[in-house]
Symmetry: C2
Subunit: 300 residues, 2 copies
């Protein structure tokens, strides 16, 4: 069609079946190592790339990959699918450096927790690459290949954020990869996913941190607080133990939406404080009962 | 001593060994039913008192008690130890009505989560009763005798708040009861315990409620939030499912200290929001790393 003649020609994917694909995963931490282990045997060949020789050895010793290397260029040269499993801001750097190394039609995915900046950077990739944003909704308090677990993705939601340039076949291959990992794919546009995870994932992290900070501030007044921290506190504060580098990347690449969600939560907490302070039992009961009901609907 | 001649004579406890004691537990919900089940066989006789016939039947069917009755007067008439296992404001009413029914030297304990008001009411009890405040640091999201579990107290901290009038023998008997339940007794003065639990228990509840409220407010903008609520959200919001009547009692009998802890936390959360908003990465990294380290010290 004449009005499309200036649009670049995007190469389509090289394979349609996961079983025919060489999969290369860049970054063998908890997320990358677990994904490799989940997909090994379901792809023609699973290659892992890491910077450190010890990580390579651990991936091979743990039977998570068919092959592993510290050589980025060699590791991606024959790949049908490349998954970037590094922190968000490393992904943003790697997209530009890795894309020229990829064969024509290579599907390039990522596992970053925020999608706006990554999908924007993917849109600018050269036309021989098929980009597809991804965000698996799983993790652990600990990080690193030592805690990698091929069952990590089982039954978890795996958000996929396709671009306008992502082909139907590329998206189908990405969905097949997600399903083969045991996860359930959910298509969500990048900005929308960032707003959602700001509330359901990044805000809980900041709340957990604020709670630990409050207990720490109280400790100076009474060290006994350390002896009686109990179940409710343990659960509510758990995600404050998350990897700081990963969380910094997430917070700073989703800044506006995290700040907005935090402001809604500050307002909610101020309202609850005012209700307790005023001893307005009837309104407090109605409010707390509605919240309890909402949570029960969320987690039946 | 002449300067003590106007002090009332407080009767001391009737037994020194738990094995010799008749224990009567008033209220057979999660906490009372579980305590009965933990202590049955370690006391001479364990009697449960409940308002509803179905609760009596469930306690007997579950082998949690030796005997159970809806007759309050009859159930406490021969008791060496009575434990009030009802919500805090019910305990405050029951102290005055039950005390006259108790035999001389009866140890009267409670399981209420706040201790200031209860210990103040205990101080005014007639001198034939030996009062001792208690607060076991355990619970479940669900309530009622259906979820009672004799292992509930195992290795949990059980705060005891003795009064100036509590005798050495009464305190020793109370400690023996706590240890027999599997819990670990910790002596903490009532006002101090209320300040501590405001931070480690009541504040986490309000934070969990604020988080659920925030998600609910967001849902109206994007119902997809329901599909992607994940691990971090589930843990951080868990205690928002707590029994509302119990939590109302706790919040309203610990109002000032809960409000104070919430204000410290609001300030912590505002600081974190400001650091994210300003993208001050160095300070944010230092702050989040210190918080992570603090939590690791709390839960090694």
């Amino acid at each position: 069609m004449s009005d499309h003649k200036d649009e670049p020609h995007f190469s389509d994917v090289r394979v349609d079946h996961l079983a025919d694909a060489q999969l290369t995963i860049v970054g063998l931490g908890l997320m990358g190592g677990s994904l490799a282990g989940a997909l090994r045997g379901q792809c023609r060949h699973v290659v892992g790339i890491a910077r450190r020789a010890e990580t390579i050895e651990a991936a091979l010793a743990g039977d998570l990959v068919d092959d592993a290397t510290t050589d980025l260029e060699g590791g991606v040269a024959e790949a049908d699918i490349v998954v970037l499993a590094t922190p968000v801001r490393v992904i943003l750097q790697q997209l530009a450096t890795i894309a020229p190394l990829l064969p024509e039609g290579c599907l390039l995915m990522d596992l970053g927790s925020t999608k706006g900046d990554i999908v924007a950077a993917m849109a600018a990739l050269p036309p021989h690459v098929q980009p597809l944003g991804g965000h698996p909704m799983c993790g652990k308090e600990r990080s690193g290949i030592e805690v990698a677990d091929p069952a990590l993705y089982h039954k978890r939601t795996f958000i996929l954020s396709p671009l306008p340039r992502t082909s139907t076949r590329a998206l189908a291959l990405g969905q097949a990869l997600v399903q083969a990992s045991g996860a359930e794919p959910l298509l969500v546009e990048a900005q929308r996913q960032d707003a959602l995870v700001a509330t359901v994932s990044h805000l809980p992290y900041l709340l957990a941190c604020a709670l630990v900070g409050t207990a720490d501030a109280t400790t100076s007044a009474d060290p006994l607080v350390w002896e009686i921290v109990a179940g409710g506190f343990r659960d509510t504060s758990r995600v404050a133990g998350s990897d700081v580098t990963m969380m910094l990347d997430i917070l700073l690449t989703n800044r506006e939406k995290v700040v907005a969600a935090t402001e809604v939560c500050l307002s909610q907490l101020q309202q609850l404080r005012a209700l307790v302070a005023s001893s307005d039992e009837a309104v407090l009961r109605t409010t707390l009962s509605a919240i309890r009901e909402t949570r029960r609907e969320m987690f039946p």
